[in-house]
Symmetry: D3
C-alpha cells in the first residue's frame, strides 16, 4: 500500500467527508449547512412573491444567488465587503456561477411568478467553497420548493435535474478530486465542474494556475469530476430522504 501524496492523506479520487444538514436555521424556507471537510457553507433558500422587472407578467419564476464569506472564515482575516462598499470580482463571479448552476436544476416556468433567492455564506473556508455552495444550495432549494408544494401553492417540485459541483486539479503532477486549501494554493490546474445527475455538464471552468495543461490531463480531470459528482448526487438524495 502506497502512502498518499495528498496533505490530507486522501487518495486522488477521494472526496472529503461531506455532510448536508437540513433546517440548520429556522427562518428560511430552505436552510442547509453543507460541509466538505472543514469547508462549511450555510445555504439558505428564500421564496419571494415577486420577480425581477424583466419577467413581470410573464407567468414564470426566477432563481438567483448571492455569495459571501464571513471576514474570518479564512486563514487571515479578509475585509468585510459590506464595509468596503463593494463585492469583489471573485465574489460576483462565484455568485453568478451558483445562479446559473441552479437555474439549470429547476424549471423556471413551473413555480409561478416567484423568486427563489439563494444565499450561500461561508462560515469556514478550506478550499472548494463554491462547489460546496452549489451542492448545498441544491438541497436548500429543493426544500423550499417542497414547502411551496406542501402549502398547495405548486403541484410538483419543479426539479429538472439534481446538480452538484466539485473541484478537480493537478496536485504535484497527479489529478486529484476535491481540492482542499493546501492543495488549492499549490496546484497547477484548477477546475470546477457542475454536472447533473444524468452525467451531463452544466459548467466546466478550468484554469491553468501554473503551466498550461494538455487534453489528456483535461480528460483525466473530467473523469474524476464525473465520479465525484455521482457520489454527491447520492448524498443529496439521501439527505432529502429520496
Amino acid at each position: 500500500m502506497t502512502a498518499s501524496h495528498r496533505p490530507s492523506g486522501r487518495s486522488p479520487e477521494q472526496l472529503r467527508e461531506v455532510r448536508l444538514t437540513r433546517q440548520y436555521t429556522k427562518h428560511a424556507e430552505g436552510s442547509v449547512l453543507v460541509e466538505f471537510g472543514d469547508t462549511r457553507v450555510l445555504c439558505t433558500a428564500s421564496i419571494e412573491e415577486k420577480v425581477p422587472g424583466f419577467l413581470k407578467g410573464k407567468g414564470q419564476g426566477w432563481l438567483t444567488a448571492e455569495y459571501g464569506m464571513l471576514p474570518r472564515s479564512t486563514h487571515t482575516r479578509m475585509d468585510r465587503e459590506a464595509a468596503k462598499g463593494k463585492q469583489s470580482g471573485r465574489t460576483q463571479e462565484i455568485q453568478r456561477l451558483i445562479g446559473r448552476a441552479l437555474r439549470a436544476a429547476f424549471d423556471l416556468e413551473a413555480f409561478g411568478e416567484r423568486t427563489l433567492q439563494l444565499d450561500c455564506d461561508v462560515l469556514q473556508a478550506d478550499g472548494g467553497t463554491r462547489t460546496a455552495a452549489i451542492t448545498g444550495a441544491m438541497v436548500a432549494a429543493y426544500d423550499a420548493f417542497a414547502g411551496l408544494k406542501s402549502q398547495g401553492l405548486i403541484e410538483a417540485i419543479p426539479v429538472k435535474h439534481f446538480v452538484a459541483a466539485i473541484s478537480v486539479g493537478v496536485f504535484k503532477g497527479v489529478p486529484v478530486l476535491d481540492l482542499d486549501y493546501p492543495e488549492d494554493s499549490d496546484c497547477d490546474t484548477d477546475m470546477n465542474v457542475v454536472m447533473t445527475d444524468a452525467g451531463h455538464f452544466v459548467e466546466v471552468q478550468g484554469t491553468a494556475e501554473g503551466a498550461a495543461f494538455d487534453r489528456a490531463t483535461l480528460n483525466a480531470l473530467l473523469d474524476l469530476a464525473q465520479q465525484g459528482i455521482a457520489t454527491l448526487n447520492g448524498l443529496q438524495r439521501q439527505a432529502l430522504g429520496l
Copy 2:
C-alpha cells in the same frame, strides 16, 4: 402559580437559555458561537499586527468591531449589505456600540501595537443580537488574548473587567429581561445595557418605542439588567473555565 404573560412563557426576570460555544470555527484566534435562545451570533476575534494610523508609534493597541446579519437570519430576507454597497445606519450603530463596550473590558496599553478585530455575524436572529454579540465577543476576545499569552507575546491577559450586555423592556406593561423578537417588536420601551462584572455601567441605551417612560420604570429596568448581567458574567467565566 400564575401563568407568564410572555410569549415564551418565561418569567419577567428570566433570561433565555444562553450557550457559549468556544472554538466554533478554526481559523480565528478566538471564535465563539453565542446563543440567547434562538438568537445565534458567531463572534470571531482576530489579532492583527498593526494599529490604525492615529495610533502608530504610540506603543499601544486597538480594539474594534464589525457587525453583520446574514440576509436570511431574519423572518423575511433582508438585502445583503455587501450587494447594496453600504452598511445601514443600524449596522453601524451596533458595531460602534460593540467596539466601545469591549474597549472598556481590556487595557489597550497592555498588548502592544496590535489590533483586536471583532466580527459579530448573526446566523439567526430572534431579538437581542447586539447584546448576545457583546456577551460572546467578550469570550472570543479573551481567548484571542490567551493565545497571545501562551505564545509568550504578552505577559498577562489584559482584561480590566468582564463585560456583558442584555436588553430589558416594558412588555404589556411589565418590565421584562432579555426580550425575544415577539416581545421586541411589540414593546413600549427598549433598553440595552452593558455592564462590568463589578456592577458598573458601560452603556445604557434606552428608547421609548411608544409612550415615554418615567423614572420608576427606568429604575425597574436597570434592576432587571443588573441581575441578568451578573448571570451572564458567570456563564462567561464558566465557559472559559475561570
Copy 3:
C-alpha cells in the same frame, strides 16, 4: 463663594446661554437657529406632500431627520461627507436619534400623508450638537405644522409633547449639565437625555468614556438632565409665544 471647576466658569447645574431664533432662513416651512453657547445648529423643517413607500395609502404621516456638520464647524477641518461619498457612523447615529426623538413629539396619524423632513446642520460646534439639534428641531417642526394649520390643511397642530434634549456627564469627578467641547473631550461619562415636558424619558444614552459608572452617578446625572430639560421646554414655549 467657590470658584467653578468648569472651564467656562459655570456651576455644575448651569446651562449655557440658549437662544432659539425662528425664521432664520426664508424658504423652509420652519427654520430655527439654535444656540447652546457657541454651538450653533440650523434646524429646518420641510413639509413634503408624500410619505415613504411603506406608509403609502395608510392615511398617516412620517417624520424623519438628517444631520450634518459644515466641514469647518469644528476645531480642525473635517472631510466633507458629500465629497467622501458617505455619511459617517456618527452622523447616521445622530440623525436616527433626532428622528426618533421628534417622532415621539408629534402624532403621526394627525397630519395626513405628509412627511416632515428635518435638517439639522451644524454651523459651529462646541459640544452638544445633537442635543441642541433636537431642542431646535422641536421648534422648527412646530412652526411648520403651524403653517399647515394656518393654511387650513390640518385642524390642529399635532403635538403630543414638547421634547428637548441635553447632555450630562462627569467632569473632573463632578456631575455637570450641558457639556461644552472642553468638557466633552475630557469627561468620564457622557450621557444624552431626551425628555418630554411631562418629565418622561424618550431616550437615555449613556456611555462610560473612561471608567464605568455606578448607579448613584447615573441617578445624579438623570437629576441634572431632568432639571435642564425643564428649562429648555420653557425656552421653547417662550420662543413660540406659547
Copy 4:
C-alpha cells in the same frame, strides 16, 4: 422716472445689497458670511500644513475649494448630497470654478507647503450663489493668510489680485447685473464673470439658456459685469479695512 422691469425694482446695472461679515464662525482661520441680497453663503478658509501628493517637496502651496448647499437653502428641499453618496455635476462644476478663481488671486509659491482649503456653504439661495461664494471666499482667504502673517509664518500676505465675481444676464430683453432667483429662472442668457481688481478676466462663462446671443449682447453684459465687480472689489477692501 421709469419703473424698473426687474422683479426686485432694481435698475439694470444695480447690485443687490452686498454684506461681508468677517469672523462669522470662530474655528476657521478665515470665516465670512457673504450676502448678495437674500443669498447667503458661509465661506471658511482653513490652513492645513500639508499639500496634495503631486506637490510634495516642491516648496509651494495649494488652494482648493468645496461647495455645498444646505438641503433647505432652496425653495423646495434638495436631497442631501452626503446622504445620496455623491456630489452633483453642478456642485463639482461650481467648486472647480471657485478653486480656479481663487488660485488666480494668490501666489501659490509664497506661502510654503500649506493648503488653503475653502468651504463655501449656501445657507440660503436666491440666485448667484457661486458669484457670492467667490467674492466672500476672497475675503476669508485674505483673513487666513493675514493670520499666518501675524504668527510670523509668512512675511507678506501672498495676494496677487483681489478677485470678485458677478452674474449678468438678459432678462426680458434687457441686460441686467446680479440676477436674483426670479430673474435667473426666467432669463435668456446667463453669464458668470470673475475679474481681478485690475479689470482683467479670470473666468467668463456664458450660456444661452433660451436663444443664442449675439456679440453686441455679449459686450453689453461684459460692460455691466466689469462695473459690478469694481464695486465688489471696493466692498471687499472696505470689509478688510484696507
Copy 5:
C-alpha cells in the same frame, strides 16, 4: 513668410485637419468619428422611446449627453472611471456642456416623447476633445433624427441651428485657434466657444490659466472662434451632404 510659432507649424487662425466619418459603428442610430488632427472622438446618438420622469406626459422630447475617455487615450494612462466608481468633476462638466450645446441645436418639442442620448468617447486625445465632441455629436444627432424621419416617426428633422465648437487661446502671447495638446498645456488663456451657424453664441467659457486677460484679448479670441466655427459648420453640412 514668417515661420509659425505653433508647435504644429499652423498659422494662428488655422484649424487642424478636421474629418467627420459617419456610420463609424453599426448599431447606433447616428455614429460619427470626429477627428480634429490627432484628437479622435466617437460620437453616437441613440434614440430611446422614453423621457426622464420630469418630462413624462408633456409630449416633448429630451436630449442628454455623456462623455468618457478611454484610459489610454492620453499620454499617460488615466484611471478608468468605471473602476474608480465615479466620474471626475471634469468629465461631468464636459458632458453637461455637450448636453446644453446640443439642446440649443434641436427643437425638443418636435420629436415626441423620446430621448436622444449622445455618447462621446475619446479614443485618442490631443487637445480639444470637448469641442470635437460637440462638433461630431451635431452630425450624429442629425443622422439619428434623419432615421426617425425616414421611418415616418417625425415629419421633419427638428434642427433649429447647426452648432459647432472650437477652442481658442493665447499661446506664447498670440491668440490662436484650435489648441492642440502641446499648446493647451502651455497657454495663458483657454476658451471654449460654442456657436450656431447664424454666428450667435451658445456657450463661452474662458479661463485665465496664467495671467488674467484683458478685454482686447477676449475680443481677438472671439473673432478667431467665430471664423473657425463657420468653417466647422461648413464641414458638418458637407459631411451630411446638405
Copy 6:
C-alpha cells in the same frame, strides 16, 4: 454542397474574418484594434514603472487587465458603467479572465518591477468580445514589451507562449466555431477557450445555456477550438512580422 445553417453563411469550423491593426492609437506602448467580423475591440498595453503593493521589492513584474464596452457598442444602449458607479459582474469576470490569460503568456519575473496594464475597450460588439480582446491584447502586450527591449530596458521580450482565445458552441444542434451575436443569443452551449501556441489549455469555460451537454459534445467543441486558435496564433505572428 450544402448550404450553411449559420446566419452568416459560414461553415461550422469557419472563423469570421479576423484583422489585427497595430498602432491604432498613438499614445499607448502597444495599441491594437482587433476585429472578429463586426466585433471590434481596442486593446492598449501601457507600461507603468511600478507594481502593486503585494509585489513591491520582489524584483518581478505584474500584468493586469481592464475591460469595458462603449455604451452604444451594443444593439440597444447599455448604461455607462462610469455613470452607474460600478462595473457589472460580467465586466469584472471578463477582465479577470483576460488578466489570467495574458499572465500565462509572459514571464512575470523577466521584466523588472513594472506593470503591464491592458485595456480592452469594445467599440462594436457582435459576439465574442472577450476572445477577441485576449487575442488582440496578446499582440498589444508583445508590442509594448518590444518597446521596452528597443529602449534597452529589458534584454528579451519575456514571452512564454502566444495565447489566443475563441468561442465555440452548439448552434441548432451543431458544434460551431467563433459564435457571432445571432448565434450567441440562440445557442445551447457556449464555451470560451484560451490556448497557447503549443496547443495547451490556459482556460476552458463552458456553460450550458439551455440543456446540459455530454462529454462527446464537449470533445467536439474542444476540437473546433484547438483548430481555431492555431489559426489565430498564425495571424498574431503574421501581424507582428514574426
